[in-house]
Amino acid sequence: MTTLTTEATNVPKAPLWTRLPVVHQLRQSIGLQRGMLVVGLIITGVFILTAIFAPLLAPYGYSQLRGDNGLFGAQQAPSGEHLLGTTVGGYDVLSRVIWGSQTAITVMVVAVLLSIFAGVALGLVSGYFGGWLDRVLVVICDAVYAFPALLLAIVMGIVISGGRSDLFGGILAAAISITVVFIPQYFRVIRAETVRIKAEAYVESARVLGASNGRIMFRHVLRNATRTLPLIFTLNASEALLTLAGLGFIGFGIEPSSAAEWGYDLNKSLSDVSSGIWWTSLFPGLAIVLVVLGITLVGESLNDLADPRLRSRRAPGKTAVAPITPAEIRDPAGRIDPSGIYGSLSTPRVRSDGLESTS
């Protein structure tokens, strides 16, 4: 098939924009997979735009309690003045929901970026050099990974913020505590990829040439090992939001005059529901569900498209040419278990002999 696709046609390089991560996959997808990806992209897009233009979109500030006619009043039913009503604290629900997207996106980005850097660095070094450091890191990360993420995040949150919940302390605490939970995940993924890539002929060829470890790690291993990151990024972003919401719900959220946060609002409004006040909890709840849904749809679609076993195929030969095959089993709550990570410790996988032979 190789001869058929490449030797026969001297294809010019595809235009740059079609090779961008998401655009590429969008073009690659078909049918239902494309449908899910598109829906996901639309929801995520609306979410991001809302976050960016929150100051323009929101009718009031997130901590605004008073309009021209004095106080808004608490728990006012939806009306012309307050399209989605007001909360128990007397805030405008619609505004809080819109501003909440800004908090959500900040935490996601900070959390995921921090964990990517830490996780990637650790995973790369650990996977590349192996040895005792690797073993110790693996055991530690496995232990952390195995522990309920939310509980860890709570403890971390308290440690980092010292209990303060202003905007900076709150967001940073949430982000960092999520980071600590995520690092093992990135570590595992990157380490597994590094171990895999380390055995690839092009890395061995660099070693034969006498290239330094640094050069091999950065020029050859790093860039190839991080190809799956956009995918992990999307999937973890949704978990970051759920963790943030969980923290807010349990009462480790961000103070309402510092930022709007959905989990916090939901926590505050749960008791409203039994009194027939549905608007205060429904909308922040829906916002969480929708954003996680959108991001997860994107992430799962990317995952399917990157995995030849899951991708809707147009051509059977195409799968063999696909450059990367992250043979990972991924569970949707954001945890990644690339099969074979445990390879160092555990059962031979079902596919182990199959993978070895088809390259």
């Binding site: 608490a74 128990v88 604290g89 913020s161 209990g163 919940s165 103070e255 505050k268």
Partner: protein, 543 residues
């Protein structure tokens, strides 16, 4: 292997079937609910938490709520008042300035049959001090020196300071619970289950089932001969909730008869409109106030522009601007009421010392007055205030409350408020380190006496740690504590409040009210919702 698998499937099917059966059974039982509440049983719901049943090991509302039902006290307040009278005693009085003598009723017994004598009393107080548990109330016995038992019914307390008018109150506080010397350990906390097993109770009720923080079952103790009289209802079950909204749903659905502490303001508001339940209000001893650190507040003693006059002007302006009515209505929906003095309404000696001094004179805010005060002192506006509060210690309303305060202050255009919240453990450390210039505090009394709202705050060694010290006030506080004449003491207490109100180290904002929700057939709730802040199940009856 294959067979193992089919077995697995069968098991799965079986469990699925079981689940379906559960749903069916559930449907049946839900239809005919309220199986538990017979005529002589009342089920109470609460969100309180017990920490330790042993009176030497706990000093919190949740544990005291249990202790007050099952342990005898020398002094207690009858239904309807906060003033104390002898409980299981026949008389109690100062027999000399430093000697307080209590005479027990004769032939008292513990529920397990052991005799309740002065020896038990001595044992109880000695062990409080011996154990001096970190979480215990021993600290309340600050004026207690020793106790002697001349005979089986006489107890003589020797006090460090003479004529302590507060001591009788202390005897009714958590530190005053009497325990069975044959059950309790003299130098260590006794585990809850041992206490229950040994039936070491002699209050209105004894505990028959003790499922920690989940379900407690009480049975009226026939041998109780104290002040409150026998319990009106034979059996009380107390169900512990972790989430107030669940408790609200259960009282609304009739699954519990009484919901006592603490429903959210929204829930209470909603239930007020529900004719299946009654909402009973009583005065509350809990207060909320803003505290100024005299060193670090704007123009405070250690700031760059230190100026006591300007500092006072800032405090005055804040007091002028805050709108307590708005806070009570919007945030607490009436479950807290406005507070204009240091001693809350309902206690002897309470006056509304701040009402006339600040705001519009009738309790409302007055921005112009605040502006005038600032201008007069030469303070340029807006003044930047760093306001701290805490989210997890003073109830879920705190964040809304302080958001609204920030809003009120900023709406006046006189202030810019940086609002910050901190989790309680950190908060309580930081505030004494002068880290917070202006901050939220709350107080729940140890005993129902004006002294408890003055001495710890403005007396010697104030716990506030805000560098406020007015010798005149300190002297007055010392004086009232030893003034035996009630009227003279009340006058002193009023004078203290007025003096402090002028200095304004703290601005009292709100006073909590006690709110119980009951089924329509439950009576007697209002009897126990008094300023003693003790909810006695013995007052309740149903039918």
């Amino acid at each position: 292997m294959t067979s193992a698998f089919t077995n697995g499937k069968r098991a799965l099917a079986a469990t699925a079937g079981l689940a379906a059966a559960a749903l069916f059974l559930a449907g049946c039982s839900a239809g005919g609910s309220t199986t538990s509440t017979s005529g002589s049983t009342i089920t109470v719901g609460t969100t309180d938490k017990i920490t330790v049943l042993d009176p030497a090991g706990s000093y919190d509302a949740g544990s005291f709520a249990v202790q007050t039902q099952v342990f005898p006290f020398l002094m207690n307040s009858p239904y309807g008042t906060s003033d104390v009278e002898p409980d299981i005693a026949t008389k109690a009085e100062f027999t000399s300035p430093t000697e307080y003598t209590v005479t027990l009723k004769p032939d008292l017994k513990w529920a397990n049959g052991n005799a309740l004598t002065s020896s038990d009393v001595k044992f109880s107080f000695d062990r409080q001090l011996a154990i001096n548990d970190a979480s215990g109330p021993a600290v309340l016995l600050y004026n207690f020196d020793s106790v002697a038992t001349p005979d089986d019914t006489t107890v003589v307390f020797t006090l460090k300071a003479a004529n302590d008018q507060v001591f009788p109150q202390i005897l009714s506080s958590p530190a005053g619970a009497i325990v069975d010397e044959e059950t309790f350990s003299a130098d260590a906390l006794t585990p809850d289950d041992d206490i229950v097993k040994a039936k070491a109770f002699a209050g209105q009720y004894e505990l028959t089932t003790y499922n920690f923080n989940s379900l407690l079952a009480y049975k009226a103790y026939e041998g109780y001969q104290g002040l409150l009289g026998p319990a009106k209802t034979e059996n009380i079950n107390v169900k512990y909730f972790t989430d107030a909204s669940n408790m609200k749903l259960d009282i609304q659905e009739g699954n519990i008869d009484v919901a006592w502490r603490s429903l959210s303001a929204t829930d209470v508001d909603d239930l007020r409109g529900n004719d299946k339940v009654k909402v009973v209000d009583g005065p509350g001893g809990e207060i909320r106030y803003i505290t100024f650190n005299f060193n670090t507040q704007p123009f405070g003693a250690t700031t760059a522009e230190a100026d006591p006059a300007k500092a006072l002007a800032v405090r005055t302006a804040v007091a002028d601007v805050v709108d307590r009515e708005e806070l009570a209505d919007q945030v607490y929906k009436g479950s807290y009421s406005t507070l204009y003095s240091y001693v809350p309404d309902g206690l002897t000696g309470a006056n509304e010392s701040l009402k006339g001094l600040y705001g519009d004179g009738e309790g409302g805010p007055d921005v112009d007055k605040a502006k005038a005060a600032l201008d007069a002192a030469g303070v340029t506006t807006p003044v930047v205030l760093n306001l701290q509060y805490n989210t997890d210690h003073y109830g879920p309303g705190s964040s809304d409350e302080y958001a609204l305060i920030k809003n009120q202050l900023e709406s006046s255009d006189l202030f810019t408020v940086n609002l910050q919240s901190t989790e309680y453990v950190q908060y309580s450390k930081d505030r004494v380190l002068d880290l917070y210039p202006i901050f939220q505090l709350g107080w729940f009394p140890d005993y129902s006496d004006a002294d408890n709202y003055l001495n710890p705050f403005f007396g010697q060694d104030s716990f506030l740690k805000i560098h406020y010290e007015n010798q005149e006030v300190i002297d007055l506080i010392t004086e009232q504590a030893v003034t035996g004449d009630a009227a003279a003491r009340t006058a002193l207490i009023e004078e203290i409040q007025d003096k402090v109100a002028a200095d304004l180290p703290t601005i009292p904002l709100l006073q909590g009210s006690q709110i119980a929700i009951t089924g329509t057939s439950v009576t007697g709730t209002e009897d126990t919702l008094d300023a003693s802040f003790k909810f006695r199940y013995g007052a309740l009856s149903k039918g």
